[in-house]
Amino acid sequence: MILVYLIGILLTGAFLAWLAGSRSPVWSRIIAIVAIGLDLILILPFIFQSVSTGSKWIVDYKVDWIPAFGISFHLALDGLSLLLLLLTFFLGLLAVIISWKEINDKAGFFHFNLLLILAGIVGVFLSLDLFLFYFFWELMLVPMYFLIGIWGHENRIKASYKFFLYTQASGLLMFVSILAIYFIHGNSTGSYTFDYLQLLGTVMSPATAFLIMIGFLAAFLVKLPVVPFHNWLPDAHTEAPTAGSLILAALLLKTGAYGLLRFVVPLFPSASATFAPIGMLLGVTGILYGAKLAFAQTDLKRLVAYTSVSHMGFVVLGVFSFNELSYQGVVMQMIAHGISTGALFIMAGQLSERIHTRDLNQMGGLWEKAPVMGSIGLIFSMASLGLPGLGNFIAELLILIGAFGANVLMACLASLGLIAATIYSLRILQKVFFGEKNHDWKINDLSLREKIVSASLVIVIVGLGLFPKTVFNIAKPALLKTLDNQKEINMLNSKPDKGETASETISFFQKAK
C-alpha cells in the first residue's frame, strides 16, 4: 500500500500546488517540497530492509484495475527500483529548489507538471504490469511537453514537439509489442494477463521474440537515447528550463535504462543475447559520437546534453554485456550520471540566470568572479571525465571490465570514450571559468540556496565514489535475478563446447540406446 501512497502523495501535491499557485507561488513551491520530501522519508526505511530481503520483492502490491483485460494495478519495489526512487526524490527536491527564482510565471501550473512527471517516473520504476507501465510511461510525456513548451527558451516549441513525437511514436511500438506478448502468452497458457511476473517465461519462437523485443527496444533506445535516435535530446535539453533539463537528463533517460534491465533482458533472454553484438556496437557508437558532438558545441547546455548521449552509451554497452560486474556498473552509471549531469545543467542554469547567455564563446574568466561556482563546476567536470574517487569512475570502470569479458574489441573502443570525455570536460572548464575574459561580467557568486543545492550534489557524488558498496549491496539481488535467465541461455548455448557436458550427452544417448 505504501507504494500507492508514494504516487498518491505526488498527485495530491500536484493538484494542491496548482490550486495554491493562484494565491502565491511560494505556497506551491512549499507544497511541492513537502510532497517530495514526504515520499523521500517514506522510502528511507526500505534501504535497511532491502539487503535482508534478498531476491524477493521488498514490497508488493496488487489489485485489479481493468479485470476484463487482465490488467492489474501491480506495483513492487526491489533494490533497483529503490535506488532509482531515491535518485528521483532527491533530484525532484533539487528541481523545486533551483527553480525558486527562475519560474515566476504560472508557478502553480509549473509545479503541477513537475510533480506529475515525478509521479509518472515513480510509476514507471514500480510497475510490474505491462499495461500500467505503459500508462505511466506516457503519463510522463504530457507534463514534460508543457514544461519545455511553456517555460523553455527561444526554440521551445520545436523542441517540445520533437520530444513528444519521438517518444510517443517509439512508445506506440512498445505498446504493440506489449499486446503481442500478451496474446502469445494468453493463447499458449489460456490466462490473458499483462502481469510481468506471469509473462516472464512466455515461450516464443526466436523470430517472434526478436520482433517483439524490437518494439520494446524502440521505446527504450529512443528514451536513452542511442545514437541514430538521439535527435530529440539536444533540442529538448537545451530548450527546457533548468528544472526540466535536470529531470530530463537525470531521470527520464534513466527510465530507458531501467526498461532495458527490467523488461528487455528478462522477458527476452535469448533474443537479447542475439541482439547483444548490435547493442554493444550501438553503445560504443553512442559513446564516441556523443563525445565528438559534445566537443563541437558552443552552447553550454547543448554540450552537456551531448555528454549525456555519450554516457548513456556506456549504459547500453553494460546492459548487453550480461554479467554482474557490468550490471553493477550500469546501475552506478545511472545514479552517478543523474547526479553529475544534473549538476552541470544546474550550473548552466545558474550561469544563464546571471549572464543571460549559454554561448561558451561569450563566457571566460569567470573563476575570479565566482570561485565557488567554479569549484563546483570543476568537481562535476571531473566527475564527468571519470576521475577516481567520484561515482562516475566506478561506474565506467565496472562497465568496461564487464564488457571486456563479453567483447574485447568493443571494450577497447569504448575506453577511448574516456579520453574524449576528458577533452570535452576540460573544454567546459577552459571556456567558462578560465581563459580570457570576453566580457566584463558583473556577477554574484552562488547564493546560500544555490550553495546548499550544489553541496548536497557534491556530497552524493563523492559518497558514491568512496562507498560504492552500499549501492552494490542494494542492487545486487535485483541484478542477479535479471541475469538468471541469461545464464541459463548462455549455458544452453555453450554446452556442446565443454568436454564434461559433451560426455554427459554422449552417455545419455548410450543409455537411450
Partner: protein
Amino acid sequence: MTITDFLCIIPLLIIAIAPIVIMIVISVLRNYEIVFAFSVLSLLSGFASVFIFFPFSPHSIEPLFIIDGFSLFFLGIIFFSALLVTLLSYEYIKQLSGAREEYYIILFTSTLGASLLAVANHFVLLFLGIETLSISLYVMIAFQKSKDQSIEAGIKYLVLASVSSAFLLFGMALIYTVFGTMQFTGLVSAIANLGQLPPLFIFGFGMLLLGIGFKLALVPFHMWTPEVYQGAPAPVSAYIATVSKGAVMAVLIRFFFNIKGFDNQSIFVVISGIAILSMFTGNLLAIRQQNIKRLLAYSSIANMGYLIIILLTGSDKGIQAAVFYLIAYFITTIGAFGVISLLSTKALEAEKISDYKGLFWKRPWIAIVFTLSLLSLAGIPVTAGFIAKFYVIFEGMKAGLMVLVFSMIVNSVLGLYYYLRVITTLFSKENEPDLPALSITGNITLAIISLSILLLGIYPGWLIDLIVRYVSL
C-alpha cells in the same frame, strides 16, 4: 401491441412527444428559457428511461423494432450526447436573432431519427430513421439564416445527402430482390441457407455502403465534411459528429454482423481499404488546417476509419470495443466543439486556430478542458481516448488484423502532430485573445465532460463490465 411492446418504446415516445409539446408551447408563449429547460428535462427523462427498460430487453416488435442491450446502449449514448449538445447550444442559440425556440424542435426530431436507427431491424425503419435525421440536419446546419456559409453548408448537405439516400434505396431494393425480405433477422436465415453471398447481394451491399459511408464521412464519401462542419453552428457540428454518426454506426454494425459481411473476401478487402484510406486522408489533410472546425472534421474522418476496423473483427467483443470507442469519442468531440461554441459570439465564430492563441493565460480552465479533449482525441493516457484506442487495437490484434492495427498506430502519431499544434497555440504567450465569459450552463457542461474524460481514462472498468454484460448481437 402488448404492454411490453409499449413499455419498450417509451424512450422513443418521450423524444417524439417532446417536440410536439414545444410546438404547442411556442404557439402560446415564446420563452427561450422554458423551451430550453423542457428540452433538457425531456432528454434527461429519455436517458433515465433507457435504464428502466433494460430488464425487458431483449425484446423485438415484429417486424420493425428490436430492443436489445445493443440498441438500449446506443439509445443511452444518443440521448446523453443530445443532452450535452443541448446544454452547449443554450448560449450559442440564445444570442441569435429571430425565432430561436424552433432549434430545439428540430434537435428533437433529429434525435428521434437517430434513435430509430438504433432500434431498426428492418430496411423501412432504417430509411425512415436516416431521412428523419438528415432532413432535420439540413435545417440545423442552415439555422443561422444570416450567414452565407451556414446556408451554403446546408445546401451542400441537402444535395449530397439526397444523392446518397438514393443509393441507399437502390441498395435496399437490390438486396430485397435477392432475398425477398427487408428484415435484418430475416436476412440472417436466408444467408445461412445460401452459404455464399450472391453477387447481386454484394452489389446491393456496395450501394448501401455508399449511402452509409456518406453519413459516416468515410473516404471516398467524405468531401462534404469540412465545409459542413465549418458552416454549421458549432453545437450542430458537434451533433453531426456524434449523434448522427453514432446512430448510423449502430445500424451499420447491426446489419453488417447480421449478414456476416466479414466472412466475405471482397467485402473484407473493401472495408479494410476504406478504413485505411479514411485514416490517412483524414489525418494528412488535418495537418495543414488553420480552421479548428475543419481540423476536427478531418479528425472525425480519421476516427471513423479507426472505428470500422471493428466491423472486421467479427465478434461480440469487437462490437463492445466499438461501443466503448463511440462513448469516449462522443464525450471528447462534444468537449472540443463545446469549447468552440462557448467561445463563439454572434459577431465572431471562434474557429481559426489563431483565435485560441494564449487562451491558457487568460482562461486557464477552458484551455485545460480543450487540452484534455484534444489529448483524448490523440489517445494519450489518463484520457478516455486512450482506453478507447487501446480497446480497438486490442480487439483488432486479437482478430489478427495486423495491417489495420499498424496503420492505426502510424496514424495515431500523425494525429498527435496536429493536435499538439492546437495545444501549443493554447499555451503560447504571444497574444491574449478577447473572449466572452462563460455561462453557468457552459461551465457545468464542460465540468461534466472533463470529469467523464478523466473517469473513463483512469477507471474504465465499470463501463467495460457494463458493456460486456449487455452489448451483444
